[in-house]
């Protein structure tokens, strides 16, 4: 597996098949004498902003964006996407989603109505 080609920027799916952001960063631990080891992946707009520019990172930091760290041991598999064996629903990734849902979207009519889904053959 190549970390930057196969893991970085991949779609993350949590244990409940929920889309849970993209792999925005990978943290590698280096201890004296031991070979480097992947400690965790990081998901969050502040991590992403750091990759673009320092200024953007400072800006995003002001928005109090929090990142979500997933230890490498919690990754179930890596293929078309990175699947976790943890639940992301209560992670900081869903803070904005939940805030928007309870404060705005649910106050608008028809926000919860079940859309008719086309049957596919």
């Amino acid at each position: 597996m190549r970390l930057t080609a196969d893991v970085l920027d991949q779609q993350v799916i949590d244990c409940c098949q929920r889309k849970a952001g993209k792999v925005d960063g990978i943290a590698i631990e280096v201890f004296n004498g031991a070979p480097p080891r992947v400690a965790y992946i990081e998901i969050g707009s502040n991590i992403l902003a750091r990759r673009v520019s320092k200024r953007l990172e400072r800006f995003v930091r002001k928005l109090h964006a929090k990142s979500f760290r997933v230890p490498w041991s919690a990754i179930a598999k890596v293929d078309v996407s990175v699947t976790l064996n943890v639940d992301a629903a209560n992670s900081p990734l869903y803070d904005v989603e939940k805030w928007l849902r309870t404060h705005i979207v649910e106050k608008i009519p028809f926000s919860a109505h079940h859309k008719h889904q086309e049957k596919n053959d």
């Binding site: 930057t4 952001g21 993209k22 849902r101 926000s111 919860a112």
Partner: protein, 405 residues
Amino acid sequence: MKNILKVTLGILTSIGGFLDAGAIATNASAGANFGMGLLWATALGTLFAIFLVEMSGRLAVVSKHTLADAMREHFGFRYHAIPLATELLVDFLVLTAEIGGACIALQFVTGIPFKWFALPVGLCIWVTIWIGSFGRIEKATAFIGLITICFIVGAFRLRPDMHAIASGFVPHQPPQDAAHYWFLSVSIIGAIITPYVFYFYSSGAIEEKWDFKDLGVNRAVAALGMTFGCIIAMGITVVAAQTLQRAGIAVDRFEQAPLMLTDPFGRWGVFLFAASLAICCFGAAIEVALAVAYVVGQAFGWRWGEDLSPKDNARFAMTYTIFILLAALVTFTGIDPLKVTMFSMAMAVVILPLVILPLLVIMNDEKYLKEQRNGWISNTVGVAAVVAAIILAIVAIPLEIIGGG
């Protein structure tokens, strides 16, 4: 049988996707100013569109990645941030243009200044996306969009000179107004291969759960849908050439355009034109608004999908909500929709290479396409499209300045 239905629906949808404020304005303007002289630009743009749309559909079918997913993954976020940011700006302009186009159509019919329709039209677009599902929206806009066939009927009724039409397929620089001629050719191509189309199409293939069986459907829809769209667009050019050019009317305001259908259809002409413009713009506005939510959602890995209720993907729903609201507010200021349309098409051309060059690279990557990588024909047309896009992107802004007015 099911495949025939799928292809038919796909064709109807692509006609809708092909014709929008930009296509109508640029083709009408081409006919009014240069007769049949710019038909080649419509044909060339369509050829590129067929291949590029087929590629974005194939990418989604084979790799289960949308264009935005694959772009971020393959080139990293540092690169992806550039097409993402510029795409949002251009999509905002295009959405403003489509809302403006629909409002102008309502002005033709009611006589009430277009800006008063901006917020109601924006609201209709938003309600349709908020409540509708992908399949329902697709079907509804596809069938209502058939009204644009009036341009082909009109073109035949006017008995155009077939030799003139044939000669329009070869570029001839006119003795005067050369800058305007080339500006229009850039805008026509820009209106056909607007980048949001590729993001939208690849997301649509995932929304409709296309799989390997559908590769043939994808190819047929891309080829036939774009061709039919192209024929209608050429119908607009021919009608405009036969009517507006003869009457000496250069379309520099949208208000002059409906006159082109009064010759073949009498007083119903204005209504037919208004209905075609309104429906095309409405359909395109829905596509652009969804495309914005798709690219943002996919860039950050959110849950996305038009078939989920807004409560289940609040960020996705708020993204298109905010975009539609802002674009409707800009139209409400009374800014000339035709100017916004022409400007947005030129800007779409400027960012085109940022989107289709990565698309072409991804289409040759075994990791995504496996055995379905581009063959030499797709690659030849793809490279030609990229080269053309780079040239167009370089000349678009200078031409906008000298030939845009």
